[in-house]
């Protein structure tokens, strides 16, 4: 049986402060995630899709070096968390990475946790250290290890886009008009099974996907390419990430899309102009089936942050690599 349907909502885009440091990028995520209304003007406070974001300005006094996303109190029971962090200089102890080996100044790091405890009381983002395979930024639970996305060293971010649903978050940041940082995290894959080999005890699979660290931005064909794309995990450092917790375990498995496509056009509509929503499947690197993206569909070529409307009703938000040029597009269904 499929999991409950998610409802994706769009936050009002946030301009990244012109000074552009890892700290201002994290501040932009914090600002985006703490707005009281959605981009469509509806009230966000108290909504069942509203995540709560906290930020860490004490680990390195006076600057934001981590933001933590906490899900709304609906859906999942696994106490998942999303953390995005980074700094201009390396922490004292080597961090625990998913696959990277070295800290790079100002590069955004992202990780997910389940059964997580609190943040910032006894632990912080520097508590997940390479010397301990079970270490986590939180006071308890399992942690994925840090993945990377984007490269602040060469990028001057312009705008940050955030989308949220009951159980997952998607964040994109542009340099000019092109996405240079992107991640989706949380329970965004439905394993379509409740078997404990396929899903956690709450029926979910938790993980993240992020684009790689290059200066050219996300690929126009980011739903089909093996370059700077989403839903395409590899074990190679600095390449894209797509990882999921092994159900019932603290370890993670690499995932990738099952059905790559290379031909999504603006003409990909029905004969009468209706816009198709094509479900998207994920498999593990082993070739085993992982699940289906939740309320995220491949659709006709469109732009970043456009709305799909039916009459006066929002049906979803389009995710493209650019805010000015249409190519591969993921639709987040409202």
């Amino acid at each position: 049986m499929a999991l409950p349907a998610l409802n994706w909502r769009m936050l009002t885009p946030v301009t990244v402060t012109a000074t552009n440091t890892i700290h201002t990028l994290l501040d932009a995520i914090y600002s985006a995630g703490n707005q009281s209304t959605y981009a469509d003007g509806t009230t966000r406070t108290g909504a069942n899709t509203a995540w709560t974001w906290e930020r860490d300005r004490t680990t390195f006094a006076g600057v934001t070096t981590a933001v933590v996303g906490n899900p709304p109190a609906v859906g999942s029971s696994m106490e998942q968390r999303i953390i995005v962090c980074g700094h201009t200089s390396a922490p004292a102890s080597a961090l625990r990475y998913h696959k990277e080996t070295t800290f790079v100044a100002s590069r955004p790091l992202i990780g997910v946790a389940k059964s997580a405890g609190s943040y910032g009381v006894t632990t912080n983002w520097t508590s997940a250290v390479a010397s301990s395979a079970s270490s986590t930024p939180f006071s308890a639970g399992e942690f994925s290890g840090y993945c990377t996305t984007g490269n602040l060293g060469t990028a001057l971010y312009s705008t940050l886009y955030m989308y949220e649903s009951q159980e997952a978050v998607a964040v994109f940041a542009t340099v000019g008009t092109t996405v240079h940082m992107a991640f989706i995290a949380g329970a965004f894959v439905d394993p379509l099974s409740t078997n404990l080999l396929d899903a956690e005890t709450d029926g979910r699979v938790y993980g993240l996907t992020s684009i790689r660290n290059v200066t050219t931005g996300m690929d126009p064909g980011f739903l089909g390419s093996t370059g700077n794309s989403l839903f395409y995990g590899t074990a190679v450092v600095l390449e894209p990430n797509c990882i999921f917790f092994v159900p019932g375990s603290s370890s993670v498995s690499i995932g990738k899309r099952f059905n790559p496509t290379s031909d999504v056009f603006s003409s990909f509509t029905a004969a009468n102009g209706e816009i198709p929503l094509v479900p998207f499947q994920i498999q593990y690197a082993s070739g085993q089936y992982s699940g289906q993206l939740r309320e995220m569909f491949l659709t006709r070529a469109s732009l970043l942050s456009n709305k799909l409307r039916d009459g006066s009703t929002d049906k979803g938000y389009t995710i493209g690599y650019s805010s000015t040029t249409a190519s591969h597009t993921l639709l987040l269904k409202v």
């Binding site: 379509l192 099974s193 078997n195 396929d198 029905a270 089936y289």
Partner: protein, 336 residues
């Protein structure tokens, strides 16, 4: 699924057509249930009186036994002969011509009561006033290659309420000829630009005869970008390449389509617990427009051609795979 039938004589097209008829005319399905009490059965008939090769079977045709009266009438037809027919109607404008070494097939639909009517003759000329349909009225796709029959040993047929699938296999269980016919594409829309007035799209897919006789459906038929010799594709090489099409809603014209994505599967394509995934297949027109989603046909793990998927003693579907062994080739599941 009907019990597979062994071809008693594969030296001519007549023996192949006899086997198709024999397979379709059986009274029970492979699971032992009666066709007569089933809502999915098709009625199969044959023509062995055509003057081209009188006394031999030169055509086999079929349609749903108890069609839903709110739906359009439909037929599938297979034809072949040792002697050359006249200028019959072919599907492709460039022609996909008759040869004594191959079997032809086509689909017909009728949008009026009783259509597409009774069988007339398969060899009706394209120039005939009724447009070359083998039936008394309705629209006909025209003929396309079903496959070369050299080396064929077995016929396998699957039926559903609104579509049928026929396969011609060699001794290894590999596919020499294959087609689906009927309303097996769901347009997921009732708009009359997207669907017939009964909400369906009617058409066919066939692997064609682009390759030489004896060539079988390749193991990578779901992931191959080539449109030749595979299902759910429309080849770009003209005559005899694989072809998939539907009738343009409300029209007698044809629109070709192909699968929207490429799918690479293996015998290990299961969930961690061993559950077998069922991935829906979307198809798009050659114009790039969305066409629809295949009905109860799913990409799944590798499976032996014709093998049943059992769950707790119940058949949940049948595999259509490239090989007679489970280990090789990509496969789809026909949901039972």
């Amino acid at each position: 699924m009907l019990p597979p039938v062994t071809i008693s004589s594969s030296s001519t097209a007549h023996g192949i057509l006899d086997a198709i008829y024999q397979c379709g005319a059986q009274t029970t399905y492979v699971d032992g249930t009666l066709k007569s009490s089933s809502s999915v059965s098709w009625t199969w008939s044959k023509d062995n009186t055509n003057a081209i090769n009188s006394g031999s079977t030169t055509a086999v045709y079929a349609g749903p036994t108890s069609p839903n009266p709110s739906l359009f009438g439909q037929r599938v037809i297979f034809a072949g002969s040792t002697s050359t027919p006249g200028a019959i109607k072919y599907l492709k404008s460039a022609g996909d011509t008759w040869a004594s070494t191959k079997i032809l097939m086509g689909s017909a639909v009728g949008r009026i009561a009783g259509a597409p009517g009774s069988y007339g003759t398969w060899s009706r000329l394209a120039s005939d006033p009724n447009g070359g349909t083998p039936f008394t009225n309705g629209q006909f796709t025209g003929y396309i290659s079903f496959g070369y029959y050299s080396g064929a040993t077995t016929i396998m047929i699957f039926e559903s309420q609104e579509a049928a699938a026929v396969f011609m296999l060699n001794s290894a269980g590999s596919i020499l000829g294959a087609c689906f016919s009927g309303a097996y594409v769901d347009p997921l829309s009732s708009d009359v630009l997207n669907a017939e007035t009964d909400g369906r799209l009617y058409g066919l897919t066939s692997i064609g005869t682009f390759n030489s006789p004896g060539t079988t459906l390749p193991n990578n038929w779901l992931s191959a970008a080539s449109g030749n010799n595979v299902l759910f594709e429309s080849g770009s090489t003209g005559n005899a390449s694989a072809y998939s099409c539907v009738f343009t809603p409300g029209s007698g014209s044809i629109k070709s389509w192909a699968k929207f994505m490429l799918y690479t599967t293996s015998s290990g394509f299961t969930s961690r617990s061993g559950n077998i995934p069922r991935i829906p297949i979307q198809v798009k027109y050659s114009t790039g427009n969305f066409c629809g989603q295949l009905r109860e046909l799913y990409v799944t793990r590798s499976g032996a051609m014709g093998g049943a998927l059992y769950e707790l003693g119940t058949i949940h579907g049948y595999f259509v795979g490239a090989a007679g062994t489970a280990a090789a080739g990509e496969a789809i599941l026909l949901k039972g």
